[in-house]
Symmetry: C2
Subunit: 368 residues, 2 copies
Amino acid sequence: MNFTFELQKTCTVTGARAGLLHTPHGIIETPIFMPVGTQATVKTVSPEELKTLGAQIILSNTYHLYLRPGQELIKKAGGLHKFMNWDRPILTDSGGFQVFSLGDLRTISDEGVLFRSHLDGSKHMFTPEKVMEIETDLGADIIMAFDECSPYPCEYEEAKKAVDRTTAWAKRCKEAHNNSEQALFGIIQGNVFEDLRKKSAREIIDLDFPGYAIGGLSVGESAEIMYEVLDYTTPLMPEDKPRYLMGVGAPENIIEGIARGVDMFDCVLPTRIARNGTVMTSFGKLVVKNAAYKEDFLPLDPECGCYTCKNYSRAYIRHLLKADEIFGLRLTTIHNLHYLMQLSSEIRKAILEDRYPAYISEFYKKRN
Amino acid sequence: MNFTFELQKTCTVTGARAGLLHTPHGIIETPIFMPVGTQATVKTVSPEELKTLGAQIILSNTYHLYLRPGQELIKKAGGLHKFMNWDRPILTDSGGFQVFSLGDLRTISDEGVLFRSHLDGSKHMFTPEKVMEIETDLGADIIMAFDECSPYPCEYEEAKKAVDRTTAWAKRCKEAHNNSEQALFGIIQGNVFEDLRKKSAREIIDLDFPGYAIGGLSVGESAEIMYEVLDYTTPLMPEDKPRYLMGVGAPENIIEGIARGVDMFDCVLPTRIARNGTVMTSFGKLVVKNAAYKEDFLPLDPECGCYTCKNYSRAYIRHLLKADEIFGLRLTTIHNLHYLMQLSSEIRKAILEDRYPAYISEFYKKRN
C-alpha cells in the first residue's frame, strides 16, 4: 500500500501539526485545503490552473459522478484521474452526506439508503458495498467510508442511531474494499454530543483505518460548538494518522481547526462564494459585485499575488460579473482558491517554524 | 499615424492576398480571423489563452460597452486594452449593426439612431459624432465608422437610403475623429444590389480611409449571394488597404472570402456554437453533446493539436456540457478558436507559397 503519513512537527502550544501524506499520485504537504471538483471538474478552472495555484489534492463527489456520467464510464476512461486530466491525488467522498441531504427523496435502513436522483427522479440504493464498488471504479487515492450524517439540530437518540450505523457500515466498507492502491478513511460521527463523538471515535479507530475524518460538522451549528466538538474529538484520534475535517473551508474555521490538530479540509465555499461575487482577502470578505467597487481600479486584495490580483481591477471584475461573463467567475474563483492555498502553506510554514500561535494572532489582527 | 498595410503577396489564380497590418499595438498577419470580445472579454477565455491560440487582434462592441460598463469608466481605466488586460490590437465596431438589430426599440433619422437599451429600456442616441467620441474613449487600434445596415431581404429604395446615410455618416465620422493613434475604417453597404454596392464603394473610398469593411452581409442571405456581392465589390476596393468582411466566421465562408480578396473577418460563431456544444473540425462540424459521443474517448478532432484535443476526450467534454460545467464551455471555445486561428495561418502560408487553389481543394476534400 502506497500510503503513509509522516508527522513532521507538532506545535508546542496548540494542537497544530505539519506532516507529509504519501499517496500513489504524490506527496501532500499538510495541513492542506482540498478544492472540490464535484462533477469531475473544479468549477471554472483547469487542472493546470489548479497546479499553478498550488493545489496538491482535489476532492470529487461519488453521488454526483455515480449519477452522471456514471462510474462505469469513468472506469472505461481509465479512472477519474485520466478522465479529468488530473495526475495529482484525488479524494472521493462516499455520497453519504449528499444522499442524507436529499430529505424526502431518501429512506434510510440498516441495509443502506434508498434514494431518488435529484436529476431525473430515478431510484437508486447506496449500501456500504455499493459505495465501495463505485469508489473503486472512480479510482481516487483516498476514498471515504459510507456513513450516516445526522442533521443539526438532532435528538440524542437519532444521533446515536447514526453513530451505530456509521460503525456497522464502516466495518462493511472495510470488508468490501480490496484495492491496495486506495486508502479507505473512516468517518467519526456523533453530532454535537460529547459521549457519542467519543463512542464513534473509539469504534471507528478500533477498525484501524489509514486516516480518519470528522463528519457531520459545519452543518448549521455555531463555530463555537464546532470548536468544542473538535476539542474533545481530535485528542482521541491517533497521532500517526491524518485527520480530515469534512466540509470546512472558511479561513477562520481552518485556522481554528488546525490549532485543534486537523490536517485536511475541503469545502465548496471558496468556489461557490466566488461565483456569487464574494472574495476572501487578508482583511476579510469583499463583495466585489457591490456598487462601491464600480470605479475601483485596485486589485481584489492589494496584498495578494495571484493571477487575478496581478492583472485585473475590482472595476473590471465587477463589470464581468454584472454582465454574466464567465471570465469573471474564473477570476474570482482563482483568487479565492489562491487565498486558501496560500493560507494553508503559510500555516504549514508557521507550524514547521514553531510560531503558529503568533501566526493566529496576526491573522485576526489584520481582520480588525 | 502608426498604421500601414503592407501587401506581401497576391495569389496568381484567386483574389487571395497575404499582408501585414501595422498598428500601435503590433503587427497583424493577414488574412486574419478576429475573435469577438463583445463585453471586454472573449467569452470564457483569458487573454493569455487567446495569445497561446495565436489571436493577433480581437474585436469588441461599442454598443455593449457604451451601455455597460460605460465608456467613461473604460476611459478612466486607461482604455480598453488596460481595462481588459489585452496588449495586442483591438478593433471596435460602431454599434451600427447592434442598434439596427434592436427593431422596435429604435428610430433612424438622418441625425442618427434613437434607441432604447436592451438592458433597462433607457433612451439613448447614437450619432456619427457620438460614436466617434465613444470609440475614442475605448481606445481601440482600429475603429469603425457609424453606418446603416439595411435588413435582408430589403426593398431597393430602403437599401439605397441606407447607402446614402452611410456615406453621409462616414463623412461626419471622418470629420469628428481626430485621434492619430486610431485608424478609422469606412464601411461599404448596399445590401445585395450590385449598383448600390458599387455606388457605396465609390463614395466611401472617395473619402479615403486607411481600411474598408464590407458590411451588411451574412445577415440571412445565401452563401452564393454573399460570394456574388464579394465578386463585384472587392475589385473596386484599393489594393493597398486592408479589406474586412464583417460578421463572417464559418470556415467555408472564410475560405471563399479570402479567395475573393478579403483580409479580415470577425464573428461570434466559433465561440457561440462552442457554448452550444458544436465544434469545428477538419472533417466538418461535430455536435459533441450528442449521445453518440457518450463513450467516445477520442479527442474532438484527432488531427487537432489544441489544448483541448491534447488532453480531453469527447466523453469528458460531453459530460461537462451535460452537467452545465463552465470548464466544458472553455474547452469547446478553445478548440473552435484554435481551429479558426490555425485555418487563417495555414491559408496565409498557402498564399505566401502560391498554392492557395490547391489548399481550397484539399479543404473541401476533407469534408466529403
